[in-house]
């Protein structure tokens, strides 16, 4: 690249990156702001300020940890994190149990109709919760699952299974058929060939599905919001906006800490598996 090309690249890419990442930077600053600093509307919101509104390079002396501590000690937040993890892991387990066999069968055994059936299953992913939540919320009440994490564990696979089946189908397709054929000739059964040959090679793909299915569960809002109404049983996506925003009084620092703390590890995981995800996601559509 020439020098000019390099400069234009930065000139385009950097503003976009700033626009897209800015809310996170701002959240990070807000997390540790003192009440006096936050409440003074003259103070710069970009940095930490002293009582006169001036910035100092040893800015950590003008920040505080108390709002994060408050969040963990005085609210249900730790409980929500735990609930979210429990729901996420249970849903991921159910998802894998249903989607791995289905994905494998569609990729390998179904032959001609495999691709069509895969697309049909993927379309189920596009029937959104917003069409289903009204009858489901009634159904959950009738089943006596209201206010129970089981309601979410039961319903979340409705969107993770089609999503995961589609991804796994893409991943299984990329494994050379010859490897399995060799095992079959050696006398292994199909299921054994799947367990011994295909699964270990697909581990990165399966891990990708785990991450993205888990993140779909953390993302979900409308079910978490309508099925669960007691604060202790909430997951973070419903607990934070409902229970930490109290009337018109905002505890901004605690609220923002609550959003940023789970977002950071999720974002890192997302990034680590992004390339693989895209390969699987688009694998069925464009090859």
């Amino acid at each position: 690249m020439t020098r000019r090309q390099k400069l234009t690249t930065y000139a385009v890419v950097v503003p976009f990156a700033i626009f897209l990442a800015f809310p996170f930077y701002f959240a990070l600053v807000t997390m540790f702001k003192t009440n006096l600093d936050l409440a003074n509307v003259e103070n710069s919101p970009y940095v930490y300020n002293d009582l006169e509104g001036n910035f100092h390079w040893d800015f950590w002396n003008y920040a505080t940890f108390e709002h994060v501590t408050f969040l963990f000690e005085e609210t249900n937040y730790p409980r929500w994190l735990l609930n979210t993890a429990v729901v996420g892991l249970a849903v991921v387990a159910i998802t894998l149990a249903l989607a791995m066999p289905a994905g494998y069968a569609l990729a390998r055994l179904a032959g001609g109709w495999g691709q069509g059936a895969g697309v049909a299953i993927f379309l189920v992913y596009l029937i959104p919760p917003t069409l289903l939540f009204l009858p489901l919320s009634r159904l959950i009440t009738q089943l006596d699952l209201k206010d129970s994490l089981w309601s979410l564990i039961l319903i979340y696979p409705s969107f993770t299974v089609p999503f995961a089946t589609w991804l796994l189908m893409g991943f299984f397709k990329t494994i050379p058929q010859e490897l399995e054929d060799a095992a079959l000739i050696d006398g292994a059964s199909r299921l054994r060939a799947f367990a011994v040959i295909v699964l270990p090679i697909s581990l990165p793909g399966i891990l990708t599905v785990v991450i993205f299915a888990f993140s779909l569960c953390v993302n979900e809002f409308i079910y978490a919001f309508t099925f669960i109404s007691s604060s202790e049983q909430r997951t973070i996506s419903a607990g934070i906006p409902n229970d930490l925003i109290r009337g018109d009084v905002f505890f901004w620092q605690s609220l923002i800490s609550a959003t940023l703390i789970p977002a950071i590890p999720l974002a890192l995981l997302y990034n680590a598996f992004l390339d693989r995800f895209i390969k699987g996601f688009t694998g069925g559509a464009f090859r």
């Binding site: 069409l131 999720l266 974002a267 464009f286």
Partner: protein, 324 residues
């Protein structure tokens, strides 16, 4: 003892034989997933359709048949029409921004430059962070009194100019400093559109880059030999090749935006004065808060034709992408 073992053995072999048949095994492996989806997606979906023709109210799962009343009642409500309009505004408005932004950004992100990984990390953040959580960050960003947005505009002395501009283009007649981004009908529409575009853009960028990578290098070489450069190459080579993939990304974006509940609910709850309701939030307010289950179901079903059209289009373009 021995006979027993032999019998067990032969039974096992028979089973094995059945399991080795591709067709049987395929059906056995796919069935659990399909049955599960039929139960948790198919049944509630059918139920939603049934409910939409009844006068069911909160607390019950049935009601008496009222024909198309729910649909006509919904349609005659001004709030409903506004919800339809807003759903279209958010969806189309944000996707226009996404399409342009993703086309430009992906073009530069495929290049090699120093610090690329950090740029990519920052660009992907809005998509990677759970939507409810990042929406709360936007709530803070757009707060009228403490918001960084208004503080910055004021420091750059752009706030009064912006107020004048909003009046000049007839978007907000009597807006005042500090701007109430979420407290004025049209300004809130604008803010919500931007938040939607912000969260979908990374997804589109990533898909665009993947689509670019799927174009064989020979095409690039051939177009170079044929002397296609600049605008000509863009028009005759790059755009036709990338169009199907770009459309698939946009259609996904349309689905994600049109069915969204969290962004609107958290930022405005449909307000001020129901001016930013969308179909999913309006269905929630009527169906759950208002207790009119049947009408709520009818409202949410209005989304279905839109989703159908988008899905068919998506399959069509995905196939074209496959061919090229």
């Amino acid at each position: 003892m021995e006979a027993h073992a032999a019998r067990a053995g032969s039974r096992e072999r028979r089973w094995r034989h059945v399991l080795e048949s591709r067709r049987v095994l395929a059906v056995l492996l796919i069935a659990p997933a399909v049955v599960f989806m039929a139960l948790v997606v198919g049944v509630p979906f059918a139920w939603a359709i049934y409910l939409s023709f009844t006068d069911a109210i909160g607390g019950s799962l049935t009601g008496s048949w009222v024909g198309l009343d729910n649909f006509t009642n919904a349609w005659e409500d001004d709030n409903f029409r506004r919800a339809v309009r807003n759903t279209l505004i958010f969806t189309l408005g944000s996707q226009v921004i996404v399409l342009v932004g993703a086309a430009v950004l992906s073009n530069f992100l495929v290049r090699d430059f120093r610090g690329k990984w950090i740029v990519r990390f920052l660009v992907v953040l809005p998509w990677a962070a759970p939507v409810v959580l990042s929406t709360i960050a936007w709530l803070w960003l757009l707060d009228s009194l403490y918001s960084v947005t208004n503080w910055t505009l004021a420091r750059l002395h752009l706030d009064n100019g912006l107020v004048w501009l909003l009046g000049a283009v007839n978007l907000e007649e009597d807006a005042q400093v500090p701007l109430q981004w979420l407290g004025r009908p049209n300004l809130a529409l604008l803010a919500l559109t931007i938040v939607h575009a912000w969260r979908i853009l990374p997804f589109a960028v990533v898909i665009f880059i993947a689509g670019r990578a799927s174009i064989p290098n020979e095409v690039e070489d051939a177009s170079k030999i044929d002397g296609a450069t600049g605008v000509k190459k863009l028009w005759y080579v790059d755009i036709p090749l990338q169009l199907p993939i770009a459309l698939v990304a946009v259609l996904f974006g349309i689905v994600f935006t049109a069915v969204d509940f969290a962004v609107v609910y958290i930022l405005t709850r449909g307000g001020p004065f129901n001016s930013t309701q969308v179909l999913p939030t309006w269905a929630y307010f009527i169906g759950i808060d208002g207790g009119s289950l049947g009408e709520g179901a009818a409202i949410s079903l209005f989304l279905f034709p839109l989703l159908m059209v988008v899905t068919v289009a998506m399959l069509f373009f995905a196939r074209r992408a496959q061919v090229s």
